[in-house]
Every structure is written in structure tokens, then in C-alpha cells.
């Protein structure tokens, strides 16, 4: 009994009304007497092109099926070590996102308030003209760039060069700030370099897995498949720390449904149990770790009882979890956004590293302290100097590193900025009027940054907003002055790097739509128009990669042993890939030495910081945000996959039945959710998987942008937003 006559209903109606004429006789391949062919709609590609999945940090190997110049299918690469042919649902169906009708086919320029078609020359002239004007008038720091974890490594490298050696601005960042920043700081401060320690093979090798703040079933389904198979085959134990009963939590041997934001206390208490029970490796600590006495002293007050009180889980379960973890010969920690996206992001990363380091459970088969990445090429950005560091993982504020890069690039050392600015500071500086131009590449900040109203205010204030995106319908385009249509990963060449440092090739399988160009080409064009042609002398991604490789020589992420051909041949190679390690490095830090000055891993004695906002009488609910398996980020890709969008058609809010009953809300009702910063509407899903007085909203929907509600608060060290805890109130719409 729908009020509107949608397409499906119309089809039904016409089927009822005109069934005879339309389908009675004809019926195409199902006509009477036609040969019965169960595969009548099947489309068999003419050719399969080796590539890497464009969605998540698992980094599955894929093959893109091409027919008549169009992408028509995706399948898993059978002998690819990450996924052995498996793919998740959106991985299989992602060809539809490539072929979507709203792909950008020409540049657009804002004229009289409207985005209108423009030639590449016009658009690039408008962009670079304005950039030059702003730089001349206000200096290079009036220009900011904001990119992503989803471009290709060569593009990150090229962009890094342009923004630092060309424009020379301090204001560069990427959406990995919203994602991996806390992990990066954790790695840097503990190990002396941003080196993820583990390998996916550890999932099969280990005896116990501790999954913290990771909804692996929805966000890294193929890894979850590996984990589930390992549990089946080896009886691998699973401990899950998550305030919701996610699928991993449902399966877990121990699920600690802690109060949001209390991970540090829990992990400290677990470490304290290990110390008390003598489940630590003193020899490893002495040889390979620094700051042990401080940590040990700090931990004494973290009794299970104390933690139980803070975290809201029974002390016995904390002890049981610690012992299960500690007694296992091999144990593996994995975490994602439940840890990173918090004011406690960096501290919690430290607490996790501590837990593993004091047991000497690092760099050994089945034992790792493993931060899992979100985007398919977050690691590529981090390796190539795309946002907050210099290529070869040289810290931005390290003079020697900058001198090396200046020499490699043939630019004056003084030119290279010694600072990078987190996106939240960039937003504030735009509002303050210090930054006039923003160049957004391959990210959709209008939906993905916290506190959307503040972001809108900033975007509206810009003199120049350039949006470089695959779809012209991308939400941020609402504020753009110049839109540049980008080719998608399936249309270009380069490399991606996944969580386990596996570098793999992405290859062009089809032509970009219309006049769209690869980000690599666009970057080179911009550079030439800006007068930085000398910086982008490489003509092809392959040539660019060759140049980039040189910056990694002797660095933690060395890739000098990589060629595109070798990547295909070896089904990806895990960096460092050097002369010494020509076939890559499965696990880091196997010898117990690190990249710190004293070659020791630092045990940071950390404590939990208070959450920026707690529920109160006016806003009594704790709002948690995140993902659902059917959709990806701001939905620009997955919402164009019909099957995915049918499964999860719109934004919803998970509410515990107790609260729903109190508020008179039923399954499917529209609900208004408000925070101090904004409001949105969502459909109610009444579910027992969340605690009473807490709600969860996924981040994928422009019609219900949860970031209209989220708090403007950040980890004091990493600058990563605190997306997962804020106070809201809800009512029936």
C-alpha cells in the first residue's frame, strides 16, 4: 500500500494489466519451446585482468572481468595468498560501481552558482590560476590539500611532491587522519617507525586472537573467514572487546562488552594480570624494550576489580581473558576503529603493544600486535608520503629525512615544509580565514568529517574548492568551484598496500568514462600548469614507481626489490622488499630490534583520558558510529550496487528494545536523533545487540548523515576524531 508509484510497483501494475500482450507470447529466452538454459542471463567476460580490490584494507586479490570494453564481473584471484579466491559480497559486485551512470565524464566549473561542463583546459586553468593568485597574495599556506587512503601509491607520491616541493604548504592531510592516525603514532612512538608488525598468516598460526574495537565480520569479511576457518580447524580461541554484540562477539569465547572508551583501562588490567601471574617474558623485555620500570609501576593500580568498575565487565572475565591470552604459546591482537577513533586512540595503541611486548609476543609466527587498516591503500599513503610524512616513511619534522628527500628530488631543502596539519586544524583555519583554497582528492569530507555543520561552514567559506572524484554526484561537490572527473582504480595502473604490508598491482582493465582521467594524469597536468613540471618528469606510473623506489632505499618500507612484474608473479610482496629480502618480509621485528634510537620498543605507561562527551539528562544516549557490511563509507560506490542497496536501503539506528519500549518506538519507525551539534532522521531497528541507553548509526548515508551529530574532539597526539562516543537524544519522528 505504498503512496507513490515507484518503478517496481509500476512494473507490477503493467504486468497485471497488460500481461497478455507483453509477456504472454514473447518471453525471450524463456519462451515456450526455447531450450532450457539455466545460465540464460549469465555474462561471461572475454578477459580477466589481474588487480586488487578497491574497498577495504584486507586487500584481496581480484580479477576484473571485461567484455566489450566494459567491466562486467569481478572474481577472486585463486592463488592470491590473502583471499585464496574468496571475496565478500561488495567485492564481487563492485563492477557495478565502476559502471555507474553518475561517473564524472567531463570537468565541471561553477558559473553563476551552477556547476557546468568545462573542458580540461578551462577547468585546470581556473584551478591553477586561482591557486597561483592565492599563493601570490597569501602565501602557500593559504592552500590546503586533503586526500585519501584510496588512491594509488604513485599518485600519493606525485601528490606529495607537488604539495610539498611545489606548493610548499604545511596544510596537507588525508582521511587516514580519521582512520589510521592513532595507529601510525602508536607504531612510530613504540617501534620508531610506522611498521605494522603482523601478517595475516598469523591468524592461522596463532592460538588466541584478541579482537579489539573491530567488527571484522562486516568490515574485513575475508579476514573473518580466515579466522572462522582457523577456529574450526585448530580451535583457535577468540576474545572480543566491543561494546556491541557484533558477529565476532557472538562467536567469541570471551566477549568483554566494555563501556565505550575504557579500552586502555581494560588492557592495562590485562597486562597487570599477566605480570601478577608471571606470564611475561622478562628476557625479551630486558633485551628489547625500554621504559619497563615506569610501565610496571604505573600498572600496579590496575587490578581487575578496578578495571571491572571502570569498564563495566566482571573482574573474573577480565582475569579469564588475560590468562587465556597470556597462557597461549602464541597470541595475536588485532584492532581497528573501535581503538583508533578516540581521544584514547594513541594510548590504546600503546596499551595493546605493551600487552604483546611484555610477553615477547611480537615478530613470531602467530604472535603480533597487529593494527588492521581500513582503506585499500592507507598503507600506500603512509609509505609514499601522501599526507603527513615524506616518502620512505620519513617523519615530516626530521631534518635529516628532509635533507635526503631534497637531494633525491633535486629541490632546495628549505623549500620542504617541516609540518603537516591535521584536517581538523585545516577546517578551523578555513573558518578563521587563513586558508583560502582546498583541493580534495578521493574523499568525501562533507559526509565523513565529524560535526558536519562546522564542515559546511568551512567549505562554504572557501575561495577555491577543487573536488577530484570519480562521481560528479559526490556530496562535497555541492560546495566545489572546480570538479575534476577521476578514473577509478579499475581504469588505471599502480600499486596498493594492505594491512599486512602486501604490495600488489592494480591494472587498467577498461577505459575511463568520457574525458575522465586518472588521478596520476590529473596531478601531472596540474603540476605542469602550476610550473612544477620538473617535479613530475616521470611519464607513467611505472616510471614514477621507479623514482619512488629510490626514496625507500634502506628505509623500513624498502621496496627497491619490487617491479610491477614481480608483484604479479609473486601475488604481491610484503615490504620491506630489498636485496636482502628479495621476496619480501612476512613479519616485522623478528629479531627484537626496532627503529628507535636505542633499538628498543618503548613501553609507554599510559592511562585512560576522559571522553569528550558523556550522556546526561538532556542527551541520555551514547551514540556509537561505524559500518555495515553492505556499504562502504559515504556510499558513493556501494549505493550504486543495486543488490547492496536493496539489502540496506537507507540509514537506520540500532536501539535496544528496552529503550524503544520506553520511547514508544517500533521497528521501522522514523526516529529523530539530536546532539548538541545537529540532528538527523533514521529508521529504527530494534535490536538486542546493543546495550540499553546506547545507539548505533552507520556512516554511509547522505540522507541521514550521522556526522551531523558527532563531536568535534580529537586524540591529543594523533589528531584522530573521536567518532565512536557522543551524547544524543532520540524521539519518534
Amino acid at each position: 500500500m505504498t503512496k507513490h508509484l515507484d518503478r517496481r510497483a509500476f512494473l507490477k501494475l503493467s504486468a497485471i494489466a497488460t500481461a497478455g500482450a507483453a509477456t504472454g507470447l514473447a518471453g525471450g529466452s524463456v519462451a515456450l519451446g526455447a531450450p532450457f538454459d539455466p545460465n540464460r542471463n549469465h555474462v561471461e567476460p572475454d578477459e580477466w585482468v589481474y588487480s586488487t580490490c578497491g574497498f577495504c584494507g584486507t586487500g584481496c586479490g581480484i580479477e576484473i572481468g571485461v567484455k566489450g570494453g566494459e567491466a562486467v564481473a569481478i572474481r577472486g584471484t585463486k592463488d592470491y595468498p590473502v583471499n585464496t579466491g574468496f571475496l565478500c559480497a561488495k567485492g564481487i559486485l563492485q563492477w557495478q560501481a565502476i559502471m555507474a551512470p553518475d561517473r564524472g565524464t567531463t570537468p565541471l566549473l561553477r558559473k553563476n552558482g551552477q556547476l557546468v561542463k568545462a573542458s580540461w583546459d578551462e577547468a585546470l586553468d581556473a584551478m591553477t590560476g586561482k591557486l597561483k593568485e592565492i599563493i601570490t597574495k597569501h602565501g602557500p599556506n593559504a592552500v590546503a590539500t586533503y586526500n585519501t587512503g584510496q588512491l594509488l601509491l604513485e599518485e600519493f607520491y606525485t601528490l606529495g611532491k607537488i604539495q610539498r616541493a611545489g606548493i610548499g604548504t604545511d596544510h596537507c592531510d588525508s582521511n587516514t587522519r580519521l582512520c589510521m592516525a592513532s595507529a601510525v603514532y602508536g607504531h612510530n612512538r613504540t617501534f620508531g617507525a610506522d611498521v605494522p608488525t603482523g601478517a595475516y598468516a598469523d591468524v592461522e598460526e596463532t592460538d588466541v586472537i584478541l579482537l579489539v574495537g573491530s567488527n571484522m565480520a562486516e568490515c574485513h569479511p575475508i579476514l573473518m573467514g580466515r579466522l572462522t576457518r582457523a577456529r574450526e580447524q585448530k580451535g583457535t580461541k577468540l576474545i572480543v572487546v566491543d561494546p556491541r554484540i557484533t558477529q565476532p562477539a557472538r562467536m567469541a569465547d570471551i566477549h568483554l562488552a566494555i563501556k565505550p572508551g575504557t579500552d586502555v583501562t581494560l588492557l592495562n588490567a590485562m597486562a597487570q594480570v599477566l605480570i601478577q601471574d608471571g606470564l611475561i617474558d622478562q628476557a625479551y623485555i630486558d633485551a628489547s624494550c625500554s621504559n619497563w620500570p615506569e610501565l610496571k609501576a604505573k600498572l600496579t593500580r590496575y587490578t581487575p576489580e578496578f578495571a571491572a568498575q571502570v569498564c563495566g565487565v566482571p573482574a573474573e572475565e577480565i582475569v579469564a581473558a588475560a590468562r587465556l591470552y597470556g597462557k597461549a604459546p602464541r597470541s595475536l591482537s588485532m584492532w581497528v576503529m573501535g581503538i583508533n577513533q578516540s581521544v584514547n586512540g594513541v594510548t590504546a595503541n600503546h596499551a595493546l603493544h605493551n600487552l604483546n611486548l611484555i610477553q615477547g609476543k611480537l615478530g613470531k609466527p602467530g604472535s603480533a600486535s597487529f593494527s588492521v587498516t581500513g582503506q585499500p591503500n592507507a598503507m600506500g599513503n603512509r609509505s609514499a608520503g601522501g599526507s603527513s610524512n615524506y616518502p620512505g616513511m620519513r617523519p615530516i619534522d626530521n631534518e635529516q629525512g628532509r635533507r635526503e628527500i631534497a637531494a633525491l628530488w633535486g629541490v632546495p631543502y628549505e623549500k620542504l615544509p617541516a609540518k603537516s596539519t591535521p584536517i581538523e586544524k585545516i577546517i578551523d583555519k578555513i573558518i578563521a580565514g587563513d586558508i583560502k583554497a582546498l583541493w580534495v582528492l578521493c574523499t568525501n569530507p562533507l559526509l565523513s568529517l565529524p560535526d558536519q555543520n562546522r564542515v559546511k561552514q568551512a567549505l562554504a567559506k572557501l575561495e577555491l574548492l577543487v573536488v577530484q572524484d570519480a562521481y560528479y554526484t559526490v556530496d562535497t561537490n555541492e560546495y566545489a568551484h572546480v570538479y575534476l572527473p577521476a578514473a577509478m582504480w579499475a581504469e588505471k595502473q599502480g600499486v596498493m598496500i594492505n594491512s599486512e604490508r602486501r604490495v600488489n598491482l592494480v591494472q587498467p582493465s577498461i577505459k575511463p568514462p568520457g574525458e575522465a582521467k586518472s588521478d596520476f594524469e590529473i596531478l601531472r597536468l596540474v603540476a605542469q600548469k602550476m610550473g612544477y613540471g620538473h617535479l613530475v618528469a616521470f611519464q607513467t606510473p611505472a616510471a614514477c614507481f621507479e623514482e619512488f623506489k629510490q626514496t625507500t632505499k634502506g628505509r623500513p618500507n624498502e621496496m627497491t626489490g619490487i617491479t610491477y612484474e614481480r608483484l604479479v608473479e609473486h601475488r604481491g610482496l610484503q615490504w620491506p622488499v630489498s636485496e636482502a629480502q628479495p621476496n619480501g618480509t612476512q613479519r616485522a621485528f623478528t629479531d627484537g630490534t626496532f627503529f628507535t634510537k636505542d633499538k628498543k620498543a618503548k613501553l609507554w605507561a599510559v592511562e585512560q583520558l576522559d571522553l569528550p562527551e558523556l550522556p546526561d539528562a538532556a542527551y541520555p544516549f551514547m551514540l556509537n558510529t561505524g559500518r555495515v557490511q553492505e556499504h562502504y563509507h559515504t556510499g558513493t560506490k556501494t549505493r550504486k550496487i543495486k543488490e547492496m542497496n536493496l539489502l540496506v536501503p537507507t540509514v537506520y539506528v540500532e536501539i535496544n528494545p528496552k529503550d524503544a519500549a520506553e520511547l514508544g518506538i517500533a521497528y521501522g519507525d522514523m526516529v529523530v536523533i539530536e546532539s548538541k551539534r545537529g540532528a538527523m532522521k533514521a529508521k529504527a531497528v530494534i535490536t538486542q545487540i546493543g546495550a540499553p541507553k546506547s545507539v548505533f548509526v552507520p556512516m554511509h548515508f547522505h540522507e541521514g548523515p550521522v556526522n551531523a551529530l558527532t563531536v568535534w574532539a580529537f586524540d591529543p597526539i594523533s589528531g584522530e576524531p573521536n567518532y565512536k562516543q557522543q551524547a544524543v537524544r532520540i524521539r519518534k519522528a
Partner: protein, 198 residues
């Protein structure tokens, strides 16, 4: 006993990733609304001990297929190996099988004017391979084989699942293993509405 091929769905291992469903859709390319395989979600119990479980279902290739008995044009046939096949070229689109099958398996497509359903990937099965959905399942929650074999070898192979219509109606060949935590098959549990859209 004659062979009766069928699926086994393990609710402990199934994470609801729907790769099975996508693999089927991707090969057969039926319209988006037509789902030969459907992963359903249910919840059992209460916070903090609640379980959300997933049930990946397609045609149950029943031993007593009501779809086949009711069809006025004999569009259905049951193979020696037990698979129930629907021939759309024979179908007149009366949709009666969408009523006789309690499992919502045959689905009507107004554009083609016929129903369609999972065919057990019988062509692959004939070549000794597994159905596509089963091949695609990354957790091994979904398996395929002789029903009797499932009953012999699986951790659990019962005929009932949450909400799964009374198996005495058509004697489905599908067997289930329940989640390890929480209620057992013989225990009556309150189950909140299916959270199809989560």
C-alpha cells in the same frame, strides 16, 4: 536410501557476509529483487547474552517438493540426486508455487512473466563441483552434499532453524547447525523480528 543432495548451513560459522548470495547473483544475473539465495538474520535472547544469527537459504531441494506437486504445467522435476529443477520455458507464471513452497523460494519476475529459483548449480554438480554459493562462502558455514552424509559428519545436522517453516510440510534436504552459545534446537526461544535490513 536414494541420494538426496542438499545444503548444510552452520549458524555458528555464518557471519552474514552474503558472499554466497552475491556469488549466485553474479553468475545467474537475475534481477536484483530476485534472490535465489537469501541470507536472513534473526536475533535470539536478550542483551548482554543476545545472539544475532544468520541463516543462508536457497531452495531446499525438498524430498516432498510441494512446488512440484502443485505446478499445473509440470515445470518442476526432481533429479535422481534429489535436486529440484524449475524449467522457466514451461512455466506460465501462475505463481502457485510461490504459495505451495513454504520457504518463499520460487520468486515471480513480472518482466519475464515466470518464476525462477535456485537450481542447485546442477551443471557444476554434474561435473563434480560444488554450487557457486558454497564455493564462495569464506567461512565454510555453507556446505553441500548428501543429506545423510551431513547427518553423519557435521557437528550438528538438524532439520529445524529459527523461523524455518515446519520441515514436515515438504521435508527439506537442508540441514542446520545451531550457534554454539545460547539456545539449542529443542529449546523454544523468543526471537525478535527478522532484521533483514539490519
Amino acid at each position: 536410501m536414494p541420494t538426496q543432495l542438499g545444503f548444510h548451513a552452520d549458524m555458528e560459522k555464518c557471519i552474514g557476509c552474503k558472499a554466497c548470495e552475491a556469488a549466485c547473483k553474479d553468475f545467474y544475473r537475475m534481477p536484483p529483487e530476485i534472490r535465489w539465495r537469501k541470507v536472513r538474520s534473526f536475533e535470539m535472547g536478550e542483551w548482554p547474552k543476545a545472539l544475532r544469527v544468520h541463516l543462508s537459504l536457497a531452495c531446499n531441494h525438498c524430498e516432498d517438493p510441494a512446488c512440484m506437486k502443485g505446478c499445473p504445467v509440470q515445470a518442476y522435476s526432481k533429479r535422481e540426486d534429489g535436486l529440484v529443477i524449475h524449467d522457466p520455458t514451461a512455466c506460465i507464471g501462475c505463481q502457485y508455487c510461490t504459495w505451495t513452497c513454504p520457504y518463499g523460494v520460487p520468486q515471480f519476475d513480472p518482466n519475464e512473466g515466470v518464476v525462477s529459483k535456485c537450481n542447485g548449480c546442477y551443471q557444476l554438480v554434474d561435473q563434480g563441483e560444488l554450487p557457486r554459493c558454497v564455493q564462495a562462502c569464506p567461512t565454510t558455514a555453507l556446505t553441500f552434499g548428501d543429506r545423510a552424509e551431513h547427518e553423519r559428519t557435521k557437528r550438528e545436522a538438524v532439520t529445524v532453524a529459527p523461523g524455518f517453516p515446519d520441515p514436515t510440510i515438504t521435508h527439506p534436504a537442508t540441514r542446520f547447525a545451531w550457534p554454539k552459545k545460547g539456545p539449542k534446537p529443542e529449546v523454544k526461544v523468543p526471537i525478535t523480528p527478522p532484521a533483514e535490513e539490519h
